[in-house]
Every structure is written in C-alpha cells, then in structure tokens.
C-alpha cells in the first residue's frame, strides 16, 4: 500500500518534471526541472533497493553533470534567444508521430511480455559480498573489470576532449 503511494507519487513527479524539462521557456528552468527529475529517479532507485545507484545518481548526475549544463547555460546567456524553426508544424507533427509510435511499440512489448511467463531467473551471482554497495563493487571489479577500465579510459578521453574543445585557441 505504502509502496504503491510512493511509487505513484514519484512516477507523477518524474514524468511531470520530465515534461517541464522539454517545455520550459527558460533554459535555466529546464535545467532545474532536470535536476528535480533526477532526484525523483534517485528515490525510485531507493525503492528498487539500489541505494548505491541512488547515491551515485545524485552525486554524479545531479551534483556533477547537471552543474556542467547549468554552467554552460549561464555562460552562453541564452535567455533571450528565440527558438527558430524551419517548419514548426511539420516538425512537431513528425515528432509527435514518432513519439506516439515509440510509446505504442514499447507498450505492446510490455503487454505481450506481461502475458507470458517470464524467463527463468538467472542464477544469483556468487559473491561473498553483503549489501548492495559491496555487491555492485564486487561485480565491477571482477566480472566487469574490463568494461570498467574501458569506462575510465572513456572518461579520460572525454576529459581531454572537453578541455581541447573549450580552450580559447587551439
């Protein structure tokens, strides 16, 4: 019962903030709604027993990435820039059509999947770890070590790339 209340409230807020992100006139407001959306998603993770993910979501996403967005928005000061469109009507129609098609497709999959029995549960990972954080850490440093290292290389490359791009004169 409580779980349902929490879920539906969060779902409403998540989607509401999501809609506000893409409809807000002022880009700074958009960024703020994005933060709110991310925080709601973080709470959803807690409800899904993924505390570590929730904290990382807040720490990295809300506290790091979005601050970067805010920085850029403030730097380019684009409060007054009008959003020109080549052919607004056509593009909107196309956008809504694609989005609707996507929604239908995904719901169809969901409905279809809901009718059949799910696949058998995969065997639980065999680890000595207790607790969510340790479990995730264990997986990252054993089964997923190579992807993990690749991700760190990716971040390094991204960092260098960002510095090069943002430098005044290359």
């Amino acid at each position: 019962m409580l779980e349902a209340i929490v879920f539906y409230t969060l779902a409403v807020f998540t989607l509401g903030f999501g809609v506000l992100v893409i409809t807000a006139r002022n880009t700074v407001h958009s960024v703020l709604f994005l933060v709110a959306n991310f925080l709601c998603v973080a709470v959803l993770y807690v409800a899904l027993a993924a505390e570590f993910l929730a904290v990382i979501q807040v720490l990295v996403y809300a506290g790091g990435i979005v601050v970067l967005y805010l920085f850029v928005v403030m730097l380019v000061n684009l409060k007054a820039i009008p959003e020109a469109q080549l052919d607004p009507a056509r593009r909107s129609r196309l956008g809504f059509a694609i989005a609707a098609a996507l929604l239908v497709e995904v719901s169809a999959i969901l409905v279809y999947a809901g009718q059949r029995a799910g696949p058998a549960a995969p065997a639980a990972v065999d680890t000595p770890a207790r607790g969510n954080t340790e479990l995730v850490g264990w997986l990252l440093y054993t089964d997923f070590l190579i992807p993990f290292e690749l991700a760190s290389v990716l971040l390094l490359v991204a960092m260098i790339g960002a510095i090069l791009l943002a430098r005044r004169e290359a």
């Binding site: 700074v28 601050v67 805010l70 920085f71 403030m74």
Partner: protein, 339 residues
Amino acid sequence: MLETYLVPLLKIVVLLNAVLVAVTYMVLLERKVIAWVQVRLGPMRVGPHGVLQPIADAIKLLLKEDITPARADRWVFTLAPIVSMVPALIAFAVIPFDSAITLFGYPITMYVADINVGLLYIVATTSISVYGIILAGYASNSKFPLLAGLRASAQLISYEVAITMMLVSLVVMAGTLSMVGIVRAQLEAGMWYVFVQPVAFVILFIGGLAETNRAPFDLPEAEQELTGGFHTEYSGMRFALFFLAEYANMIVVSAVATTLFLGGWLRPFPNVGALAFLDLVPGWIWFLGKTFVFLYVFIWIRATLPRYRYDQLMRLGWKVLIPLAIANLVVTGLLKVLL
C-alpha cells in the same frame, strides 16, 4: 508502528530544532570569538554578554522587508536559499551522535538513520548544495552575484573532488560506508583515524574550509571584492537562510570530520584501559565536544588568515590537494594489501 515511524519522526523534530538553535548560536559564538581575538567585546547589549543576540537577529531578519530585484528570475530567486539550506539540514540524518542511549527505559539510537551508503549520502547532499549558490548568482540578474556564483561553483566542485578522493582511502581503512560502521571500525582498530590517516585529515580540513566557503577560501562572498558575493541582492529571511546554511554546513563538516577522524562518540584512546574512567562522560558529549573544537578552529582561522585569490585557490585544489589525495589512496591501498 511506534518504532518505525514515531520514534524517527521525533528524532528528526528534535534534531532539526537542535541544529537550528545551534546554528544561530554558532553566529554568536563566531562574533564573540572573533571579538576576543580582536580585543573587542562583541555583542553585549541583548541579554547578559549578548546571549540573546541570535534571537534579536532572527526577529530582525524575519521582520525586514523581503526585496526581490525587479529583473530577477522570481522563481529561481526564491528557490535558491531553500536549495542551499535543505542539503545542509538533511545531511544530519546520517550523523551518529552516539551509539544508543536509554531513555524512559527505551533504547534509543542517537542517529536518525544508519544507511549503508552513509558517507556517500553526505557527499551527495553537499554536491547538491552548490545549486543554491549558482542559482542565487544567476537569479539576481546582477554582475557581482553572477561572478560570485561562477566562482563558488568552480570552487565547490574542485574541492569536492579532493574530498571524495580522500574519503576513498578512509573507506579502504574502515571497510564500510556506514557512518556508524566507521566509528565502530575505529573502536576495533583501537585508535582514531586521525593518527592513521593524518594526510587525509588535513585534506578534509582544508577541503572542508573550502566547501563551506570559510576563510581563507571565502571567495564567493568576498565582501571586499564582490561586495556581498552571491547574496548581494538578498535581504530579510532569504538572506538569513543563506547565512544559516553556511553555518549549518560548518557544523556538518565538523561533525563529519569528528565521526571519520576523531572517533565520533568514542573517548580518547579507546584502546587504553587505564583511561576507562573517561567513559563516565556520555558519548554524545564527547561527540559534541570534538565538533565544538572543530568549529572553534574554523572561527579562529577566519580571524587570523588573509584570503586566497581565485587562481591560487584553484591551484591549491587541483595541483596540491587532489594529487595528495590520490597518493594517499595509493599508499593506503598498498599498505592495506601488504600488511
């Protein structure tokens, strides 16, 4: 029902009120201590030795006109002080003041929650608090606050990296992210981590000064350079919120440092049996005492040191503290594996 909802709720109410009172009296303490350093008396008029000054200040700030600049972004302008206050308050949820005390025959834990990602939770909440400053700078629609907002965000992000790096080596030592667990680990180890991780302690202390925008890192609100910094355009209660948030953050940093490095509620030298009589003092008093020492040092430093410049601050953060934190982590890891 009572156990799951009522008791935590009561704890939250008590804690929030205690924090707010502590924060207002922090302001008085700071004024008094700085006054003593500067051979003055400090507030003396309201109540004996000015003890009622915080109440007078609070009333004054509440009654003052609340001005929103004409071309400010109203929503964001209102939101910013709240955004900076809330993270400072919710961080207290995971701080253990004592293990458990017995009250009316009930054993009551002296913390609101002991979550297994406690330390990360605190880092996450502080990372959110940067929004308050950026948004205040942006929403005021004025140049000085904007500059201050940019400064503050850059500063907070840089020092957060150093602090988080440093925390990793501490977690390596303790083997847990839970705040209660870290104190327990210090009890098992038989000594406070400040003796095991002195470098990390220094990094946390310097980083804590920077994270809370305290002197010598108080650039975002450098009165002499940027007038009032990001809260130049704020007045009345909204200004008070920023002010309180700063002091609440100071208390958070001090409490976290106490928990991580000074053994939380443990007495000094918890492994020396000869000092067992110190256990007569309740743990939460030890905790509050250690936190107070930190706060005092914060104030002391503010009264003594000049202010860093923006580029020097950045250099210190990126070129000294972060490499030091990484080196500390490597050494800790090596020792942990080898020993």
